[in-house]
Point group: C2
């Protein structure tokens, strides 16, 4: 069972474990500062397939296969997989997962997909509806460019606020038993829209969503940033990260000294031409797994708030002059499997 805390947070009574994870990336991501941390890096961005969309599906298929291999499970050991991506009709996930025969819960939450998937999956386990579940999210630079922006061949110049969609996929196995980390609580995000219309500045559109979810989590739990070793956002990039820190300051819960952003970690902005940083549903899915989960398994990070952030625009809404709504779902990962009790702090 889970139980509600405050207005917006659900805490797990038997926090499920992230029992295993797998990550795969492309060459640009391998050449970044985290390159050696990923399980699989493919220099060929096509992943051997004939179209970019098929390439991203192949990326998903390989990452899920790797998750099964690493965890020693068969596909039919999994009760469901919660998955999504950025492509129209989420076809990277559909075609990537098609061959496994696992029940699929399709999600769309843009670059916040992996925290929605981890949160929902943890609640399904804690509530008894599943014995094990996978969470998976992907993105691919080449599919995203042609769908959201312009054909690669066009060579469009990108402004400094633009981010670079990562070619990356992260897959997680949630199980009742396992080594740390555990999912202790989740806060689902509301749609926040402060009127940003520049699709080349999605960090600015997403920062208020992350700030609002953080605010609600801290209000519900009476915890504060100091209770956490790290507060990790999805892909706010340089612009959005600065905005989030300012907003958190204004909310009286400064996070600057423990905040990190997956979009800023993935690339070396000085050396790699990614402007404001990385983005994409696969960016935070791969970086959380590659960087932080091993630290939590080793015990060097004990409590971590993970907020993947998603901009919920489409090319059509941009063309129609709409503003960009955003969302951010929060997952509290901990090395402690103890159910959270209000007033007791975060614990180790």
């Amino acid at each position: 069972m889970a139980h509600r805390i405050g207005a917006a947070t659900a805490a797990c009574d038997r926090p499920p474990a992230i029992a295993a994870w797998a990550t795969a990336v492309g060459r640009h991501e391998r050449e970044g500062p985290l390159g050696r941390l990923f399980d699989l890096a493919c220099d060929d961005a096509t992943f051997g397939r004939a179209s970019w969309e098929k390439s991203e599906s192949e990326l998903v298929r390989r990452t899920m296969g790797l998750l099964l291999d690493k965890s020693g499970r068969r596909a039919d050991d999994l009760d469901c997989v919660l998955a999504g991506d950025l492509l129209n009709q989420c076809v990277a996930s559909t075609y990537g997962l098609r061959s496994f025969g696992i029940p699929v819960l399709g999600l769309y939450s843009a670059c916040s997909t992996i925290s929605e998937a981890l949160a929902l999956g943890a609640l399904l386990l804690d509530g008894g509806a599943a014995g094990s579940a996978a969470a998976c999210a992907s993105s691919h630079f080449c599919t995203a460019e042609r769908q959201y922006r312009s054909p690669l061949e066009y060579g469009c110049v990108r402004p400094p606020t633009a981010q670079w969609t990562a070619t990356a996929c992260g897959a997680y196995l949630l199980a009742h038993r396992g080594e740390p980390p555990y999912v202790r609580a989740v806060t689902f995000g509301t749609i926040e829209d402060l009127g940003v219309t520049d699709q080349n500045n999605m960090g600015a559109a997403m920062a208020p969503a992350a700030a609002e979810t953080l605010r609600r989590f801290f209000a519900d739990t009476a915890l504060c940033p100091a209770d956490f070793d790290a507060i990790v956002t999805g892909d706010l990039g340089a612009v959005g990260s600065e905005l989030l820190c300012s907003l958190a300051d204004a909310q009286g819960t400064p996070v600057r000294d423990r905040h990190a952003d997956c979009g800023l970690l993935l690339f070396d902005r000085g050396r790699q031409d990614v402007h404001a940083g990385g983005s994409g549903a696969g960016c935070s899915a791969a970086v959380l797994a590659a960087v932080y989960l091993p630290q939590m398994r080793r015990g060097s990070v004990n409590n971590l708030l993970f907020l993947a952030t998603g901009a919920l625009l489409s090319p059509t809404t941009v063309q129609q002059g709409e503003t960009i709504p955003a969302i951010s779902h929060l997952v509290w990962l901990s090395t402690s499997p103890a159910p959270f009790a209000a007033g007791k702090g975060a614990g180790a």
Copy 2:
């Protein structure tokens, strides 16, 4: 708490109630045989907005507003809304729900969205993670035509197997307490792909997914079609319905005498030019609520299996010669709030 039954089904220990529902449709749907059953019918397909995408968002906004009105709740009484639609990046849901401030769990499961939403929502309530939740799915003929097929102005001729995307939205309120019906069990669908490539024959692509989910539900529960007053699919249309009945015959669980399809109920195929019937994520969302939930409230239908069916293609995958994968999630609705126990039958 929920508990697992067999390999693929989860049963609710405290089956949540569908405490309220709301439906809205366009003129073509109002002129069909169910016209007077919908809460709201708007003769103006634009719903007063300047683009088709904004029209569909407005349809979602009005339907959700109606759900709150009918149920006597405020938006902040709801812990979350699980929602999705057919548009790229699910923008009908995002922009339609933006003003409510309710945490949003974005789903993508094509025309199976509403059964995924009801199933997940019920499990979140039963597992203690939410006290109340809304489920919502929409579609709009004009957005779907231009996104999936060709511009309306083109006047493309449609083959007999084609279906008509309904302009419709259905929204549901799940609560711990309430009058019937209750969600007693759910079976999440697997992705089935038997090689259909004709995007004008999606009923044929989807029927195997519904048959497979039905097969798994009956295998898990040891129930049979005779335990149910109605077995209602989403939008298989004429072609897909016949295929499903044949597949169910072959599986030894004939459903023909109690099967109905929302896509066939919505329109009068003799009088309205819809070829194989209605479709769209909003079709089954509106028809289930308008037709069957009142019957269950009155007690004239006691046990009903609802399987919305989704074709997970995109225009891009069709252009790339891919086959059409499909999925169907199952929800068992009952006038009995008793937890299901294997070997005891469906009960009244």
